[in-house]
Every structure is written in C-alpha cells, then in structure tokens.
Symmetry: D2
Subunit: 370 residues, 4 copies
C-alpha cells in the first residue's frame, strides 16, 4: 500500500514538475512535502523566465535555460487543460537597462539577430514611458517572459494528482535507507517503499547529499521581494537593472525583486532589505515612488557552489536521483528539469548532454564526503 | 481647473466603464468615488457573465445581457493592451443542473440550437466528474462565461487614466446643483463644475434620485460569497443550481456564491450566511466538503423595484444621466452600459431601443417623488 | 421610528466616543457611518497618548491633552466591562531622544518635577539598549502612554450599543436640514429626524461646515505607518525623534509612524513614504533593520487651520455641534471630547473653558463662509 | 561554536517554554525549528486553560493541568517584563452548558466547593444573555481561563533569546546520533553537538521515538477553528457544550473551536469542518449567526495512545528527554512542562510524581519498538 515506483522528496515547483511528468508517464509516484505544496522558494519567486536576463555566456547552462523557457507556451496550455489553473504566462520580453554610456556599449555588444535587440533611450521611453529618463538605452530581450511560480507548482500538483500521484503534506522525510533494490523513505507519517527516489528539497536538500555520502553543496541565498499595485503606471515589459527587476503581473500587481544575502537562513522580509529594494526601484522608475505598496516576502534560493543545478543519479546508490540547486532559476528550469529526470528514470537517453553537464562530478572531483 | 465635460459619481465597474469609454471618446472626464475604486459590489462579484443563467425569458433585458456578454472577448484584449491588466475571461460555458425529473424536463424545454444544450446525467458526470451523482442532467449554457470583476474595474480605471480621465478617491459627492448649463458637484474635496453628470453610485444612488426629484428605486440585496482553493478537484465549467453557483477561476480558486438578503445594509459575511452556502454547495458537489476554505466576503447588490437597470437622462435636468440598478448583473452589463451612456451623451443614437426600454418611465409612471 | 435624540455623523473614535457617553446618559442616539465603524483615521493611528510628546507649550490645548490622557486608566476598565474589549492601555512612558548636544540642552530645559525627566545617554541605553548609540540622551515622558486606537473605537461602539445606541454602517449622510426644532439627516438609507446633530466625520467634516454656512477649515494630512514584529528586540517604551516614533504594542508588534503629507487625499501607503520611514527608523534604532516587516498602511488626519479641534455648537443653528479636527491626536482626545460634547448637549457646564477655547470663533473671526 | 548544553527539537509552545526555563537557569540552549517559531499547533490553539473543562476525573493528569493553570498569573507578569509581550491572560471562568435535564443533573454532581458551581438557567442567562434559551443551566468553572497561545510561545522565545538561547528557524533536525557523552543533532543547517536533547516536536515527534528505538505513540488529531468579530454580542466567559467552545478574546474577536479528526494529516480548514462548527455554535448561541466571520484555520494536535503527554528521559540513552504528546492541552500545560523538563535536566527532583506518572513505561510495557 505504501509502495511507490518513485518517491519524490520535496513538493516545490521542481518536485511537482517531476511528479507530473512521471505520473503522466504511468509511474506510481508519491511526493513527500515537509510543509505545504509550493510553500517555500517556489511561492517567493517573481516568476521570470530569464534565459537571457540570467545569462551572458553562451554555455550549456544558457542552452538549458533557453530550452526550458521555450517549453512554456505549450506547457501552459497543457496545464490549463489538466488542472484548470492558468499559470499566467506573459511573453512581452524584458528590458535590460543601461544607465551609463559604458553599460550601453556593453549591452550593444550583446545584441544578436534573434533574441537581443538594442533600443535607444528614446525608443525605450516611447515603449515604457515610466522608466527613468537617465537611462542610456536598453537591451530588449525579446522572448524572455514570465509566469506565476506558485501557479506553475499548483498546476503541476493538480495535474499529477489527476494522473494518479499521491501527495503527502506535513510529511518530512528523515531518512533514505536501502532495502533490497528499493529504498525506504522514513517520514513522520511512517515508512514508504519506493523503487526510485528523487531528492528535490530545495535548499534543504543538502542533508540528503551528506546522508548519502556526498558533500553538501547547498547554501541558502535569502531573497526578498515587494509587490505594489499601481493606480497609474501601466508597465508592459519586465524591466531590470543590476539585481533589481520590475515584473508586471497579469492581475495588475507589479513584483519588485530581489535582494540577495548568502548564508542567511532567515525567511522574513526585513526593514533593511525592503528599504534597499524600494530605494533602488525608485531610481529605475521614479514614479513608482507614489504607487501603493501591497506586501513584501522572502525565501531561500537553493544555491550550489558553482551556481548550477544537479541532474544526476547517485554514483553508488542506483535509483537515487538529485534534481536540485536551481538557485535563481527554478521556475524557469522546472519544465526541462522534469523532462530530464523522467529521461533518467525511464532511461530514454534524450537529454544526455544535460545529464553529462549537470552531473555530480563537480562535487566528487573536489573531495568526496566531508 | 476643476471643470470637466463629464463628472461620474461612483467608481465601481459601471462608473469606471463609463469613464473609460468617455475619455477614450475624447471627453474630459472625472470620477468621484467615496472610498476606493471598485471597493464595493464590484469586488464582491463572482464575475459570471450569465446572459442565460440569469434569464429564462427572451425579453429585451435578455438581449441586453447577451449583447454585453458578446462584447467581452474584444474588450478583454483592448483592456489588456491599454492597462496591462488581464480580466481573466473564461468561456467554458456553464452547467445549470437539474436534480429532479421535473427540473430536467423544464431545462430540456429551454434547449435551443445555438446556446443551450441538454446534457444527460452521464454526459455531465463525464465532463464534470465531481458534480453530485444525484443529478438528473444539466442544461449546458455554451457561451456564458466569466471574468474577474475587480480586474475589469481596475483595467477600465487604468485605461481611463491613460486617456486622460481624473479619478478622485475618498471623495464622496454630497450634492448636484444646477449652475447655468452645467452642474456643480459638491464633494468633500471641494466643488467641481461638470457639463454633464452620470449617477453610477450602485445601491447608494438612491439618494441622487431623491435629491433630483425622483422616487428612490434602489434597495440593497446583500450577497455573501466564499472562496475555496481545491487541492484535488479540477472544475472546468461554472456549475449552478438554484441560487448556488460554483465558479472556477483561472488562478485555481473557486468562488461559491451567493446568498441573498433584501433590505439588509450589513456588509459582513455572517456565520449564518456562510454556513448556508457551505451546506448547499456540498449537496451540489459533495467532494468540495474536503477542500480548503480560503475566505468569505459580502456586499450589496443595487436592486431596483423591477430588477432592471436604468439608462436614462433626467426628464427635467438635461445632462444628468442615471446608469445604475444592475442588481445581480453589473459585471456582465458594464460593457454595454458604458456604450449606452456614451451614446446618450454623444447623441449618436445607436442604442435607442435600450434607452427606450430602460428609461425612467418605470419610476415616473407610478408616482413622482415620494 | 427613525427619530433620535441625537444623530452623530461619522463613526470613528470621536463619533463612537460621543455615542457611548450620550447613550450612557440615557439619550436615544444614532451613529451614521459612510463605511465601516472605525475604518478610517481611527484604524490607522499608532495610538499614542502623547500629551507631552505632542506639546511643548503649556497652553490650554496641552491641558486638554493631559486631562484626556488621565481619563484613560479608568475608561479602560469601564470599557472592558461594558464591551469585553481590552483597549491595550500601556503606561510605560516615552523617550524623546536628543541626538545633538543642542537638542539635549533643549530637552533638559523642558524637564519638570512631575512628568518630564532628563535621562543621560547611559541611562537611556541601559533601559532601552537598542536605541542608537549616537544619542545624546533623552527626555523621559513618564506618564504618556498608548492604546490600540481601533479597539478604543470598537469598545465604545459595543458599549454604546449595549446602552441602546443604533449604529448604521454603509450609511453616508448627505444633508442636514432644519425641520422645526429638529433636523432631518438625509442618508442613503433614508431620512432620520434628530433632535440634535453632531458632526464628527473626521477630514470629511469640511462639507458640513460649508453646507451649514461656515468656512471649511479641514484639510487632510496623509500619514503612513509600518508594523514590524521583532524576533529579538524587546522594546519597552515608545521612543521618538522628530516625527518618527517607535511604538511597542502589547501583542509584540511594533508600530513605526508616521509620514506627513498635507493636502494629499490618497490613502495608500506608497513606496516613497514607506521607504522614508524605514530609513529614519534605522537611524534611531539600527537593529530594527534586521527585524521582520509585517505591513504598512495609511490614512488621513483631519487638520484644521490652526491644528486645534472644534468643540462647538453652531452659532446660528441651535442643536448642531461640531466635534472634529483632532489632527494628530484624536485617539488621545476621544475621552475628553466625548465628555465635552455630552456637557454641551446636556448643558451641564462642566467644561466651559474648553468650549470657550475650542469654539468656532477661530473660523468666524476670519471671514464667514467662503 | 556549534556546541550547546541542551538542544531542543521543535519550537512550538512546548519547546520554547523549555528553552526559556533552561536558559533562565543558565544553560546554553538551542532550539531547532523546521519552519517558523510557533507556526504549527501552537498558533491554531484557542488558548483555553481548561483544567476543569478538559477533565472530569480527579487523577494525576487533572492535578498536572490544575498546577499548570495556576502558574499562569505570575508567568504572565514575568513574560511581559522579559519580552514585552502580553499573553492576554483572561480569568473570567467558563460555562459548561447543560441542554437536557440529564446533563444538568450530571453537571450538578460535579459541583464542588472551590472551583465548580452550578448555575441555574436564569443565572446563566443573566450573566451571558446570548446563550441559547434552551439550556437547562451550566456548571461554572470559576478559575479556568485562557491566553493567546501564539503569544505565549513568542513571549517565551523572546525571553529565551534574552537569556542567551539560540533559535534556529527553517532548520529541521533529521537525526540524533550518540557522540561520546553528548549527541549530534543533524540538521539542514549542519551538525550541532548538544549535551542533552529534548524532543518537543509535536505530532512530528513520532519519528524520534522510532529512531531512538521506541514505539511511535503519536497520531495527529486535526482540529479546525473559526474566528468571528461580533458587532453586537458581548461575551464575557468562555462557553462550551460538548466539543464546541466559544472563547472571547481580549481584542474583541471570538474563537470558536474545534473539530476533531483522528489520523488526518491535512492542515487546511475544510468546507465540511467549518460548516459543522458553524451549525453547532448557532445552536449554543443563536445570535452568533448574524455576526461577521473573520477567518478559519486548522492544525494537528499531537495525541498519544492514552491521550497523556510524555515527560521522560530515554531509558537507554541518557540525556535524551521527551516532552510531547500534549494533545488538546499544550497551551495549558506549557508552564508545568517547562518546569518538569528543567527539573529532570537539573536533577532537582521537584516533580517526581509527574515524572513517574508520565513516563515512557506506558510505551515500553506494551511492546518495545515495532
Ligand atoms: C526572492 C526570490 C525570487 C526568485 N525569482 C525567480 C524568478 O524570477 N525566476 C526563477 O526561475 N526563479 C526565481 N527564484 C528561484 C526559484 O524560486 C527557485 O529556484 C525554485 O523555487 C526552487 O524550487 P525547489 O522546488 O527546488 O525549491 P522549494 O520551492 O524551496 O521547494 C523545496 C520543497 O522541499 C520541501 N522539503 C525540504 N526538506 C524536505 C524533507 N526533508 N522532506 C520533505 N520535504 C522537504 C520544502 O518544504 C519545500 O516545499 C526566486 C527565488 C527567490 C527566493
Ligand atoms: C455577492 C455578489 C455576487 C455577484 N455576482 C455577480 C456576477 O457573478 N456577475 C455579475 O454580473 N454581477 C454580479 N454581482 C452584481 C455586481 O457586483 C453589481 O451589479 C455591480 O458591481 C454594480 O456595480 P456598480 O458600479 O453599480 O456598484 P458598486 O460596485 O457598488 O460601485 C458603486 C460605487 O459608488 C460609490 N459611491 C456611492 N455613493 C457615492 C457618492 N455619494 N459619491 C461618490 N461615490 C459614491 C461607492 O463607494 C462604490 O464604489 C454580484 C454582486 C454581489 C454582491
Ligand atoms: C498615520 C496616523 C497616525 C496617527 N497616530 C495617532 C496617535 O498615535 N495618537 C493619536 O491620538 N492620534 C493619532 N492619529 C490621529 C487620529 O487617528 C485621528 O485624529 C482620529 O482618528 C480622528 O478620529 P475621527 O473619528 O475624527 O476621524 P475618522 O477616524 O477618520 O472617522 C471619521 C468617520 O466619519 C465617516 N464619515 C465621513 N463622512 C461621512 C458622512 N458624510 N456620513 C457618515 N459618515 C461619514 C468616515 O467614514 C469615518 O469613519 C494618527 C493618524 C494617522 C493618519
Ligand atoms: C484547533 C486546536 C485547538 C486547540 N486548542 C487548545 C486550547 O484551547 N488549549 C490548549 O491548551 N491546547 C489547545 N490545543 C492544543 C495545543 O495547540 C497543542 O497541544 C500544543 O500547541 C502543542 O505544542 P507543541 O509545541 O508540542 O507542538 P507544535 O506547536 O505543533 O510545535 C511543534 C514544532 O516542532 C517543529 N518540528 C517538527 N518536527 C521537527 C524537526 N524534525 N526538527 C525541528 N522542528 C520540528 C514543528 O515545525 C513545530 O513548530 C489546540 C490544538 C488545535 C489544533
């Protein structure tokens, strides 16, 4: 009864995405979640699908981001049908601002044919008239978009349930113990036998790395966000400068993110953090100063040493998979992550290059265990 | 400075819709709102666009509803562009349930070629598997849909502002005084001179009828709603029976409405009202019983003696218009109301039949003043 | 049926306080409230009882404040008994900080025997260790305290109801019309006949001044507040510097107030206002920077030209009383205001000096009407 | 650095109470909390101190309850001083209602000299006029009172911090491993060495029993509550009948509790549960039907097989203590639990009878391990 093909530890957007794809593929899947579905980093995210905004290099991580982003339009339709939840996909592109001539030259150097277009100051102000007049111009990231992170997670969860997945809330996993060819997951709600196990517990995954004989690569990067509900400002595109982004959501609220504090496990938005955000955003878009503040919140990004996620089977314990470490990009990367994990479990070998690049070698090479 | 072409009293969905169309047409428009934009009935609505669900007769009120409903798809696009706000239009149709054979026969008798289709019990349960197995079948209202009422209002407001409208919040109008060919609106923020005046103050409009020498046709009908956020249930269509409807919103919440208390000015959801709703909905969809309750609220529907709205110029005071009394259908009727008022003010004579049918004669015929 | 001894326009802390005292004295009293009881300035207040913090002069306004403050301890008991609501009276005193030597000398010059005591830097830091180390010392306002403003209002309202008062919510008053020896109050819920009328509609009272032939003395002063819920900081006393105060409430939250914008009718906390508060408070108490932000809000203080309230019968319309204009001190002044109005209505002549000092002469002297 | 005298697993009211007493006694104490302080059962409690309402027998559990209840008045003062937080202690007694003659006779048989007094129907209705007229009378539990559970927890936490305790949030403990004479606590934030360990993880404690070789005695009993904010009703005493209680809080809200579902790990208030509560309470106090609903919530009571808590050192692992299983009475029992644990750790032998009665023998006798 308590036996599953796959047990997934953690019900954030990553765990739920995986549960969706696996149960859709016919596997008997269970998600074990300490608290509530999507209640941690996933709900805190601004939801940007920033393949370009988060990458300047043209490496495999960039390709991963791009491929995942491009999965969203059809995924949005599929999830709406399966779950009734609209994930609020917006694809208006983003503006990356330059304030100095030098920044402008740098951004111009990034322009390409398909995705990145340099816009002059006048052009930007014509499109987004509330941006500061002090800008030098902006790079337009044509196809980067956004979704509502918590809705992606809930849509995946409802879809997974429809395909037969079990979801256990208030159910922390304490231990993973080999039992023949399978694993016992020890939880507060008892023991479950799972043929395979996926560790997708966000910043709390570190424990399972250690438990399973690996080094803990995970550190928290606290981030705070702010929501406003403009009475006047109409903002169409996401606009960002350095680490301050302005993300207009479909319901008329605008999310402003995000601070970044390494190794801080606190999850409350603080006076200091929120006031810093407020000051920054007023430089980028001065009129925001007179718009209504709605709320502020905070959560922990799961960062690895090199900032890349892990998609990998345990080198010694067959059937244990890691899918975590998505840092600033877990919403963006949930669709591709889910497919990669399905690929690894079903051994369909479609994503070998990613499995190769995001393997545990980065951990092992360095030093094994603690 | 404090001079406008048109002054609109009340910033609910009706007043904001009118402000949008008038300022788009080039008039210098102001909205005066006692409290906050959309803060009254407009925010409380479930947002159904129930041309059929609210009408069995095929009279001119039905035609009005139908025409307004059919304006929504293009309006949704226009407002998204102008305001950045998505009004969350859903057009999956609605199920009107029959529980007894007799109800079934009656609903079957309503079926027609285009819009209303009788579905057997099996068919309904195949489409909406969570509906009670006790049903006898349902009438499918193919094209009735829904939106988010508060978002329609905010989208209209932001659009109106973009077209130059002024919106004064915390600004109750106390008096309307003839001043030459124009009117003085006396408010807590001073006096404003307006060429024309529109009364769209919902259930509070009654005062202006009396003030302007007419009988007060307005009475409050208190309504309570409930929101749940299902973990399991996927509901696609709005489902209703008698006066209990289940409206699945795009963000995954489900609104359950609504109680009805005549002449009750209280605006708090009560233990009695909410428990009644909860009991009714569990009969219609038993599994809802185990889904999470999110919140409950209440507001006042503006009902006239005959349940129809007024679209009319004052018989004696030229330039004063009434656009109120939308009772259970103000969200549905906002688009057509806005166009009719524009039509009356610009004297473009496009909606004469409605102006004729929804005139003040209903009030005057009876007795003038009290 | 719709006949009352006294009709009170406005159900904030002032209107409800008056309703309580009058109905307790046996009068048949009604409160007419546009929206919800206590929903405006009253709910926004930090609740300081700052007889000293708000006054440096030793004039009659100071005496009024002091007398009202001293009414609170017994009132708190009485209201708890009558209404079951605890108004959260705290009497730990307040610290008025000096940062420069000059400020220190000035505050020392204010010290007296009973109420105001100069505390050295060391002494202050010993008592309130989280205050900035940059202070030069502080004046201790021994007996100034605080309450929860919204609770005072609700306690008064429940007490008034118990003594038989009627409270009409969602019921704006539009007009006051002489009718024999009494007055007709014209409201959205119909007409009420009241022997006497009290205008206590906060910043919205201005309309009634004008309507009744007087000059409108009222202007809004928007104020924003912020609440935090410290995990670490234990703050005992209210601490303030210039216009930034830190008010520790009994439930462990700390209110930080308040900004001040004249003639701004907007009632939303803005990015600009909230960030200014946050920056100021971090100077006064740096460790607050790392404490959790809970919420922010805003409302309108009812300010008169000279900043003093009016307690006065209309010079020409007998039986119409004004009790409004409490600006920054309506919570502090509610108890004495209620007694003064009772005194005027019952002609018991106990508060003649206040009636004399806070009369309408200030308005009339200047110019009558507009 | 990561070394403590005592490590406490779980930061609900029990864990924080223990942390407070131990750090006050000079021990270097740490609390490890999976989520946020007091975020689970502790915040959900109605806060009744029901020594009598929860007990009809006169056994040692009753004595424990009584002794803990009697600790509250001085504790309330102490915590206010240490933490600035008022725990909102109310001591108006409670009414246990009888609706039938038989119930009346039974309650009369419980009356005693000091604490329990039978009140006739008339007497009860004179004191609490809103109680249903159908009652037959009530037992007055003179000294049973109430507090705000979440405030007790936060006051303890702030007090503990002041005495030097460390509190780690977002820090689940996964394992307890013997390390010489001490224990390693393995957490998501790394490993901590603790001389002694206290398991106070509420319903999630079960895992640690098993992990440490004992049988898991813990099962969840889901409970839902409802808050209303009466506009009219003044309720002084807590009133209850069967498992429905009406608890008037000091801020004017009234908590209505609680449903009871065994072995249900869900933590959302459901349509079914909340409607059941609403129907029950309207029988007890019909006028509550027209009062405003504010919110509803739910959490998990930690129940043991016999419904009693454990205060015990592990029979084989010296230095590991259990303080959990408080089921319906954790708020009531927090003060005595904290003192008993301190007593066990400091070996001061003051509470031997309780240590004797609430030992692990109940678990061991039956069968050891699974
Ligand atoms: C302020 C902020 C802004 C962000 N903005 C963006 C953005 O714009 N775009 C983007 O792509 N990303 C963004 N991110 C990053 C994104 O939120 C994360 O990368 C993503 O949510 C990670 O998902 P996850 O499922 O791995 O983690 P989480 O959402 O944290 O989920 C992990 C889950 O595991 C559970 N868990 C932990 N331990 C256990 C256990 N032992 N047993 C059972 N369950 C357990 C937790 O309770 C949790 O629910 C942002 C993050 C923050 C904080
Ligand atoms: C529970 C419930 C469910 C409903 N469901 C639906 C539904 O599914 N579909 C549908 O189509 N309709 C629905 N309705 C009806 C719909 O909400 C109303 O018909 C519609 O909101 C009316 O809009 P309005 O702008 O006329 O009124 P309101 O939204 O009430 O706005 C009137 C505004 O006028 C302001 N005002 C009043 N007096 C003054 C003054 N003197 N000066 C200045 N301003 C003033 C008020 O503050 C208010 O903001 C529902 C209503 C309720 C209560
Ligand atoms: C940020 C802030 C902080 C403050 N801090 C403090 C403090 O620490 N200490 C202190 O003593 N004071 C403080 N104040 C001031 C205090 O809040 C006000 O002085 C006080 O609330 C005024 O009470 P009121 O009843 O006159 O006004 P309000 O509370 O505004 O009530 C007036 C009521 O009249 C109603 N009304 C208006 N027009 C009509 C009409 N036509 N018909 C019917 N009803 C109508 C309104 O809806 C409203 O409910 C603060 C104020 C603000 C904004
Ligand atoms: C609806 C309801 C009404 C109630 N009413 C009353 C009442 O009126 N009076 C009364 O006395 N009692 C009442 N109770 C009971 C009372 O709430 C509980 O007995 C009490 O809160 C238990 O406290 P606790 O600290 O043991 O548990 P919790 O408050 O549940 O705290 C346990 C903590 O341990 C943490 N934790 C769990 N696992 C781990 C781990 N592995 N590592 C780190 N941390 C962990 C959890 O996150 C949690 O914060 C009520 C309960 C409910 C649900």
């Amino acid at each position: 009864m308590n036996v599953f093909d796959v047990g997934i530890i953690g019900g954030g957007v990553i765990g739920q995405g995986i549960a969706y794809e696996l149960s859709k593929a016919g596997l008997k899947t269970a998600v074990f979640e300490s608290g509530e579905i999507g209640g941690k980093a996933t709900s805190a995210a601004a939801g940007m699908l920033g393949a370009h905004s988060e990458n300047e290099k043209r490496d495999i991580f960039f390709e991963l981001c791009l491929e995942s982003r491009n999965l969203y339009p059809s995924l949005a339709k599929e999830l709406l049908e399966q779950s009734g939840v609209d994930i609020e996909l917006v694809q208006e592109g983003m503006y990356r601002l330059a304030f100095t001539e030098e920044e402008g030259r740098f951004l111009q150097s990034l322009a390409d044919e398909d995705e990145l277009e340099w816009h002059s100051r006048e052009n930007v102000l014509a499109n987004e008239p509330h941006v500061s007049e002090d800008i030098a111009g902006a790079l337009w990231l044509k196809h980067d978009g956004q979704v509502k992170g918590s809705s992606v997670c809930h849509a995946y969860a409802k879809g997974a349930r429809k395909y037969g997945a079990s979801i256990f809330e208030q159910c922390p996993v304490f231990d993973v113990i080999k039992e023949g060819k399978a694993y016992k997951l020890v939880t507060s709600q008892g023991v479950f036998i799972c043929g395979k196990v996926v560790v997708s517990s966000g910043v709390w995954s570190g424990f399972f790395f250690e438990k399973l004989g690996l080094r803990n690569p995970m550190k928290p990067v606290k981030g705070e966000c702010l929501a406003i509900k403009p009475k006047k400002l109409v903002i169409n595109k996401t606009v960002f400068y350095e680490h301050c982004y302005i993300v207009p959501k479909k319901d008329g609220t605008v999310i402003i993110g995000a601070t970044s504090y390494e190794n801080d496990w606190d999850t409350h938005p603080t006076v200091k953090g929120v006031s810093e955000l407020m000051i920054k955003v007023q430089k980028i878009m001065p009129e925001i100063g007179s718009e209504p503040v709605v709320s502020a919140w905070s959560s922990l990004r799961p960062q690895t040493a090199d900032g890349w996620p892990y998609f990998a089977e345990h080198p010694e314990h067959e059937g244990i998979f890691f899918a975590t470490g998505h840092y600033r990009n877990g919403i963006l990367l949930a669709p591709i992550t889910s497919l990669i994990v399905k690929d690894m479990i079903l051994k369909t070998n479609q994503y070998e290059r990613y499995v190769h690049s995001f393997s545990l070698n980065r951990l092992l090479s360095d030093a094994k265990g603690r």
